[in-house]
């Protein structure tokens, strides 16, 4: 009985890992070029930005919230970096976009925690506002190139390599490890779970749910800004209309990774796997060549529905046996 339970728990806990491994195996068998250095680096590189955003999104969703603004914030961040590039200072190009995105995340958090506005609405507003600012700054959607004076140095941000692995991938790994540490070993991290699990109980235990909520949206803003900078560095330009739907991909990755959308259960490890499941599917469709890229949406969507149905099934059977002895 106990063994069977453990096996079941193991599968349930690590199901997404097996799913990713199966996908990778299938891809490697079907497409010889899949396992090449170029392709693998490409997958990692492309998904590091979504990955970074998904880490922040996971914390937000763990509190029981949602953040729709991150795609727009990333676009705004890339535009800001490009627009500020003629000043010739890398520090300004990096710090100002990060500060602006962090501030907007903080604002979302304050609106949600202090004014008790539903996260969906608060961040929907922020999403539209950030996109609007990016469009206004670029005369209605024209891409702005990074000034040639700093372009070369700024490019290094996304294009330098360590041990043949691109810098954004290292950044993602570093943030993932930091995030895992915060989630598992710090009080703030545990309080994120507590708030999402039962906010009222958390308050009764003397925790401060408002502070936790403000913090997760602020961090999410910062991470969105960072993803936008990586994009600007890769493209050598700021594009106000990019990153469309990134927030949805991040939410999907989080859900596929096993985090409950109602909050309280899940984690960053699963999310990282979820990001790469979506990434590998998309890569397979590219390699296949004849399928339209829209198939990626269809497959990811179906996968997402499947996972969420599994979750609600698991929840319905959630409570187990009661063992008590006098």
């Amino acid at each position: 009985m106990k063994k069977k339970n453990l096996f079941y728990a193991f599968c349930k806990k690590h199901g997404v890992v097996f799913a990713l491994l199966a996908l990778i195996l299938a891809a490697a068998l079907l497409f010889p070029e899949f396992a090449s250095y170029g392709n693998v680096t490409n997958i990692l590189n492309q998904n590091s930005m979504i990955g970074i955003i998904s880490l922040g999104m996971t914390f937000v969703i763990l509190t029981g919230g949602i953040d729709l603004s991150v795609g727009s914030l990333a676009a705004l961040s890339s535009v800001l970096a490009a627009v500020l590039s003629p000043k010739g200072s890398l520090a300004i190009m990096i710090l100002v976009p990060l500060a602006v995105c962090t501030a907007m995340g903080l604002l979302s958090g304050l609106i949600i925690a202090k004014l008790q506005i539903a996260p969906f609405i608060a961040t929907l507003g922020m999403m539209m506002a950030a996109r609007g600012i990016a469009l206004v700054m670029t005369d209605g959607g024209v891409s702005v190139s990074v000034d040639t004076g700093v372009a070369e140095t700024f490019r290094l941000f996304a294009r330098s390599y360590l041990l043949r692995v691109p810098a954004p991938v290292w950044l993602f790994v570093l943030l993932l490890v930091t995030g895992l540490y915060i989630a598992r070993r710090t009080r703030s991290g545990r309080y994120v779970y507590a708030v999402g699990g039962n906010e009222e109980a958390a308050r009764m235990m003397g925790l401060q749910p408002e502070k936790i909520k403000i913090a997760v949206y602020t961090v999410n803003g910062l991470l969105a800004g960072l993803a936008g900078l990586i994009l600007a560095s890769r493209l050598g330009a700021g594009q106000p209309v990019t990153c469309d739907g990134w927030e949805m991909t991040a939410i999907a990755a989080t859900a596929i990774g096993g985090t409950l959308l109602s909050g309280g259960r899940g984690g960053l490890g699963g999310t990282a796997i979820g990001v790469f499941i979506i990434g590998v599917i998309s890569n397979m469709i590219n390699l296949q060549g004849s399928l339209s890229s829209w198939w990626q949406s269809i497959i990811t969507g179906l996968l997402l529905l499947f996972v969420v149905m599994l979750q609600s099934h698991a929840r319905a059977n959630g409570t187990g046996s009661t063992e008590i002895a006098g």
Binding site: R185, Y193, G197, E200, A201, M205, L260, R265, T319, I324
Partner: protein, 508 residues
């Protein structure tokens, strides 16, 4: 003498807009005693406890804990001072481990962060001392209610509480689990920890408590040792009426046909409160359901109306056995239910009187999905007149109506369905005296038309005035049935406190 008391709340006064929630209440608890705080709904128990634990501010009065004057602004401050609360709804985090739930907010730390080894070891030790066997690393939600309740207590112990407030901790436990809880409570008492115990189950109060304080309408009624109090005295003090001084008033005798009962329920048992209740209602009969809060009255109504398919026992309508899956099955057989909580389960506040009244009947007055507005308006018009609902018009938003008129709209919603049986759960709660009389007159009318009524009310007077027959339940079981000459407030109270009479009739 003062040092005898661990906690003294003196002259606590609290006003809410329109309500004097607490009127200079004195409440004192000794160390190492289990102290019951009793009173019907709205007596002020929870307000008093919320002031103690820092959720509400008192207007005037003082709180003395361990000889020190204190005033808490948050549950956290109260907790730090040694006051822990265990709520009826278990207030823990379902997906976190048992160990983490015990320590949340006070995790032992080491240089690399939270010291999980110590968290788990400490939790294990506390639970082992309590005699609870559970894997502390498992999520709380993988265990049942009883273990979760024990974890809540473990949390209280681990913060070194001197005083634990238990707000209806037994309401979701079964008998065996209650025993386990009581064993823990006795152990805590031996350690000198004081417990304030709130429960609506009288038997429990007499089993476990040393002292009983009774509140009514925000005022202190009495404080006395449990051993010197009889059940009947307790009930009459809670309800606020001298048990001997209750006169029987007008009461119509049921004159309908014998025939097959409209509804017969037998041995209804659910997962929580009901433990085999039976009842029978004939055509045009008004049957009352009496019992203290938590006796299972509303739960029974929900089973009868199909709102809780998870029951055992049988239901028969006009002699034919039925098995409900959802309220719509009961509605199809001509049942109607006006719920106790008007705001949460009854009205659609942002919709008009017309829409509110015809919500349930829409399928009948619509063709191919289109509502016949003419018929709809006729119906609404008829009921506004016949129930004399005071509203400027059909299109008025229902939230702008007084409580009594909202209640009438809800009644009309069900009456226009021409039901066979209507369940009224506290139909006069929160409405003024005039409207009350009108609603009561309506109930008589309804029955006169041959509709059967199941009336649930905490006001015994109301039951006595309106019902042909009253069924008394306690702790989810039938304990008596009163009709015609026997039906009086005094007899209802005596029935609720029955055991003591059987034991020798020494009281009053």
């Amino acid at each position: 003498m003062e040092a005898m008391y661990l906690l003294e709340m003196r002259q606590i006064d609290k006003q809410f807009p329109g309500v004097h929630a607490l009127d200079h209440v004195n409440f004192r608890v000794r160390a190492g005693e289990i102290h019951a705080l009793m009173g019907e709904n709205g007596a002020g128990k929870s307000t008093l406890m919320k002031i103690l634990t820092g959720l509400y501010r008192k207007d005037t009065g003082e709180i003395i804990l361990d000889g020190q004057q204190v005033s808490f602004n948050s549950p956290l401050e109260a907790q730090r001072a040694g006051i822990s609360t265990i709520y009826q709804e278990i207030n823990l985090i379902p997906y976190l481990s048992i160990a983490e739930n015990i320590h949340l907010g006070r995790e032992p730390m080491n240089r690399t962060g939270i010291d999980w080894k110590q968290v788990n070891q400490r939790a294990e030790r506390i639970l082992r001392e309590m005699g609870v066997e559970a894997d502390v690393t498992q999520p709380l939600c993988s265990y049942g209610t009883a273990v979760q309740q024990m974890v809540a207590i473990a949390r209280a112990i681990s913060v070194q509480a001197k005083l634990i407030v238990m707000d209806e901790p037994t309401s979701s436990l079964d008998e065996k689990e209650v025993e386990i809880l009581f064993r823990q409570m006795r152990k805590l008492r031996e350690k000198g920890i004081a417990i304030i115990f709130i429960s609506h189950r009288l038997d429990e109060v007499f089993e476990i408590c040393d002292t009983v304080t009774i509140l009514k309408d925000g005022k202190l009624v009495s404080e006395s040792p449990a051993a010197e109090l009889s059940k009947l005295e307790l009930v009459s003090r809670m309800i606020g009426r001298d048990a001997t001084d209750v006169l029987r008033r007008k009461n119509g005798v049921y004159q309908g046909t014998g025939g097959v009962p409209v509804l017969e329920a037998h041995g209804i048992t659910d997962k929580e409160k009901l433990r085999g209740v039976s009842l029978r209602i004939r055509q045009g009969e008004i049957v009352g359901l009496a019992g203290l809060l938590g006796a299972g009255r509303t739960e029974l109504a929900k089973v009868i109306f199909g709102d809780n398919p998870d029951y055992t026992g049988t239901l028969a309508v006009n002699g034919q056995e039925v098995r409900w899956k959802a309220p719509r099955d009961a509605i199809a057989k001509g049942f109607a239910y006006c719920s106790e909580d008007r705001k949460a389960e009854g009205i659609f506040p942002h919709m008009s009187v017309r829409e509110n009244m015809t919500m349930a009947i829409l399928p009948r007055i619509a063709r191919r999905g289109l509502v016949n507005v003419g018929r709809q308006k006729d119906i609404v018009d008829r009921y506004i007149k016949s129930l004399s609902i005071k509203t400027p018009g059909q299109e008025q938003l229902i939230r702008n109506l007084s409580g009594g008129n909202q209640q009438k709209v809800l009644l009309a919603r069900w009456l226009c369905m021409e039901p066979r049986l209507i369940i009224l759960d506290e139909p006069t709660r929160g409405i003024d005296i005039g409207a009350k009389a009108e609603i009561e007159a309506l109930i008589q009318d309804i029955a006169g038309q041959g509709i059967s009524v199941l009336l649930i009310s905490s006001e015994l007077e109301e039951l006595v005035r309106n019902c042909h027959r009253v069924i008394v339940i306690r702790d989810g079981k039938n304990i008596g049935e009163l009709e015609s000459d026997m039906l009086s407030e005094g007899n209802i109270m005596r029935t609720i406190a029955q055991d003591i009479l059987q034991e020798g009739g020494a009281c009053i």
